[in-house]
């Protein structure tokens, strides 16, 4: 309990980094939105609906990125019992879940006019849905136990077991025949997407990443204070003998 007694190095570093990541994220997303909505050209096949890509793809990348981060934190928690690892995983999980949900919903909004369907059980969409459920399970486990540490441990195990889903999502469009289009950005041989579309996408993606880092630092600080409050509560209860 008392490892959270002092703010420590994390708080100092977080306080220094946060203003930069927050401002940079705001600027990048603002610039990205401007490029996405006003500058980038409509697609010759998809027309203006292609603009959904600029929120759909960054959300998807974040959903995957956050899960990998949680998996790494889970490993750090289980192997080295690093005190900040659980805090980071707890702080990150709802954000990852939100990005996964946004991916699915914006994807449906794009799919309906383009494919003529809101949903299809192809490998990409299904594995993304599974990712969303993994996030929900992770959050549920963290909150399911009286003993906080048990919750963290169970959640960490779930996160690591589920990590196989990440390469499945990534390669789903290659390994199975999917309605979802194949990779056009992160692939061997480089992006096939045109630069007038790639630039706004990259800027939005970076903006989303810095947004996540900023929010993670805020939520971790919040979680550390909550842990401290719990410790004080427990100490008071013990002192009263009750």
């Amino acid at each position: 309990m008392h490892r959270f007694a002092n703010p420590g190095r994390f708080q100092r570093i977080a306080t220094r980094i946060l203003p930069w990541t927050a401002v940079a994220s705001g600027l990048l997303i603002a610039w990205g939105l401007y490029l996405a909505l006003f500058v980038s050209p409509p697609d010759y096949q998809q027309g203006e609906s292609v603009r959904i890509m600029y929120v759909h793809v960054p959300s998807a990348w974040m959903a995957l990125f956050v899960y990998v981060m949680i998996a790494l934190a889970s490993a750090a928690s289980l192997i080295w019992r690093h005190p900040l690892a659980d805090v980071a995983a707890r702080a990150a999980s709802p954000l990852g879940a939100a990005f996964a949900l946004l991916t699915l919903v914006t994807g449906s909004l794009w799919g309906e006019p383009m494919w003529g369907t809101w949903w299809v059980w192809d490998a990409r969409l299904t594995s993304m849905l599974v990712l969303f459920f993994l996030y929900l399970g992770h959050i549920a486990l963290m909150n399911a136990f009286e003993d906080q540490q048990r919750g963290y441990r169970a959640a960490a195990i779930l996160a690591l077991v589920g990590v196989i889903n990440i390469p499945i999502i990534k390669y789903s469009v290659e390994w199975w025949s999917t309605l979802h289009q194949p990779a056009s950005v992160i692939r061997i041989g480089g992006p096939t997407i045109e630069s007038s579309l790639l630039w706004p996408l990259a800027i939005m993606a970076l903006g989303f990443k810095l947004y996540f880092v900023s929010l993670l630092l805020i939520r971790m600080r919040s979680e550390l204070i909550a842990a401290r409050l719990r410790a004080i509560d427990m100490a008071l209860v013990r002192r009263r003998g009750g």
Binding site: P42, R51, L102, T106, I218, R219, L229, I232
Partner: protein, 57 residues
């Protein structure tokens, strides 16, 4: 005026593009607001608890 209408119309895809952007913005802004609120609330509680502990000692 025509330009604005064309912009909002999104080539006929307005019903899909704007909810996509709107929902994304709402969720991302919402998280910032609730996370900051929760942080402030916890900071206040911690300050109160530490103040009352200090006064008792």
């Amino acid at each position: 005026m025509d330009q604005f209408r064309a912009f909002f119309d999104m080539g006929g895809y307005a019903a899909f593009v704007w909810p996509a952007y709107g929902l994304t913005a709402a969720v991302m802004v919402g998280f910032v607001i609730t996370s900051l609120r929760r942080l402030r609330r916890r900071q206040r509680r911690l300050a109160e608890m530490e103040a009352s502990r200090a006064s008792k000692e």
